[in-house]
Subunit: 333 residues, 2 copies
């Protein structure tokens, strides 16, 4: 069973396993590719996962059998429990909450040897449609306040299974990073009466120094203040705070730019580990019209060390101008 | 040359290398122990480092020769330049500053095969005295506003050289994490008229559930809201915002508890990679009497993945109550 705990100094939350803690000796920092044994995410291994929640599959095929192209299942080792109500309490100066939430896995392809960058634009479109579909269902649960969609690719980025997948976590509170971004966007809007992300897109498209690629709906660029070498953002050109409200044309356009960007990163950096995260507005927290949803890709090329942990400052050995140049020149395909 | 850049959304700062960016193919995520070749931090290799800034050494021995027990040198690959003045400017919506600061390395022992946990209490006392001595010198430079003292132990924690050392970085701005902690402490003080860290120490000593060890001046405990499994804090019992103002008795007491704690971590977790960071008040930023300096140790047993990067939420597979129990039982020596 897990418990949510809030730090009384910084307001940071954690999820701690209080009933079956991991013991010394059970940690494996860089879990390796599973030797032997079937992969639970492959076509034909459907019985190895918890029963599927939803899937995009061929007409006439049954749940938990082959025939799917994208498949969503509950995480077998969820960080949060779906059952129960959100209960807040305190012990002395410490606040905590029951570890309620949803933790789902979106398997992006039945093929074990393909990652997201290898899929066709149409297949990636299906993956993004599934992100949107699950978001639209999960937002109806009034215990949840935030939906976090993220992908870990490669052991160094925290992926414990190699088969390409994305995770979606529904949280009963709005996380700190999201609050910070919202607050920043609101503050900027307050004194300029413009969206900071819209201004950023305009400046990047004018400067061109950090732009990698653009299409009708999106621009991919290395942000001016990247925490990580070759960090890349994909930002919609049209202001919209809410990822799950995008229409089919936008999904198609997003699939195209995501494929292009991931293929460039894969080629130029030789298939690095990376995380990507969809930053979107909270689901039950007012209007948030100052926010602007986007996707951030963070290749894991360097270690995060004491300096970063102590300061929240990041040392980046590669300027975003140089990173963008490399990624512009190195087309994926 | 490096440049400081500030994120217009969150206020996060980074240091980017803008003149000699690291290229694709030059990254090595987990640098391995150097095969062959002399270690620049060993006794006898003094000429391999930039000239020493200060050292604790036998009377009669000369700088940059053997005879030292603790030795401070400039970082050969500094994140910031010591020369120049702090200049702030903007390009469009982006703010930046010249990359001015100091970046020093405190070599903790002349012996290559010893780490901090292996040193005698007296040797650790010398190391802590050197942290204090360098802080007292660096604070006089009025370009600097924060001194960050941190240690990376092991490749997974970002250490690029194996020989035991600590780093000290003098920054021209107060970093985000420090501001957050200060703000939290001020807010707490504002409505309770007490220090949040003093309250935490009192509650931990009363509960005893998360305490590992205490001595006259300090208590070591696993915090109620740990980001990482087996995260451990060493907090002085007496309220004081400023690490560098501690007296010799406190240095001695700190050496004793630091040795005890690191030895327990080394034994119980089988010499894991870890970072530690001294959290102290800014040097040129008002009084900050609500703050309470302390040291945070973060073993690196798990990867930080997309969930953490996206939310600022941490999933900790081990409760601090269980971690403290393991560390209490497993004495280092």
């Amino acid at each position: 069973m897990s418990q949510l705990r809030c730090d009384p100094i910084t307001g940071r939350w954690i999820i701690a396993d209080i009933t079956s803690p991991k013991r010394p000796g059970e940690f494996e920092l860089m879990p390796q590719k599973k030797k032997g044994g079937a992969c639970p995410f492959c076509a034909g291994s459907e019985k190895m996962t918890p029963p599927e929640i939803s899937a995009i599959r061929k007409p006439g095929t049954k749940p938990d059998t082959p025939g799917w192209s994208v498949r969503t299942v509950p995480n077998k080792f969820p960080a949060l429990d779906t059952q129960g109500s959100v209960e807040n309490r305190a012990i002395g100066i410490y606040d905590m909450s029951s570890g309620i939430g949803a933790h789902e896995v979106i398997i992006e392809t039945p093929a074990h040897d393909k990652d997201l960058a290898d899929l066709t634009p149409k297949e990636i479109e299906n993956v993004i449609s599934e992100y949107r579909a699950r978001s639209l269902v999960l937002e109806k649960d009034d215990r949840f306040r935030y939906l976090l969609i993220f992908k870990n690719h490669g052991a160094a980025a925290g992926a414990s299974l190699e088969h390409s997948h994305t995770q979606i976590v529904a949280l009963p509170i709005v996380p700190k990073r999201v609050k910070e971004e919202l607050k920043g966007a609101v503050t900027y809007f307050g004194y300029r009466e413009r969206c900071v992300f819209c201004d950023m897109v305009a400046q990047e498209l004018q400067d061109k120094l950090r732009v990698i690629f653009e299409n009708r709906h999106f621009v991919a660029f290395c942000p001016f203040v990247p925490r990580f070498a070759f960090e890349t953002w994909i930002v919609p050109k049209k202001h919209n705070q809410d990822f799950k409200s995008i229409d089919d044309k936008t999904v198609k356009s997003m699939a195209a730019i995501l494929k292009d960007t991931l293929a460039r990163i894969k080629k130029v950096l030789k298939d690095p580990a990376y995380n990507f995260i969809i930053h979107t507005a909270p689901i039950r927290d007012g209007i948030n019209e100052e926010f602007h949803w986007h996707l951030e890709i963070m290749p894991k090329l360097t270690s995060v060390a004491g300096f970063e942990w102590g300061s929240g400052f990041y040392i980046n050995p590669t300027s975003p101008e140089f990173a963008a140049k490399c990624l512009r020149q190195g087309k994926g395909e």
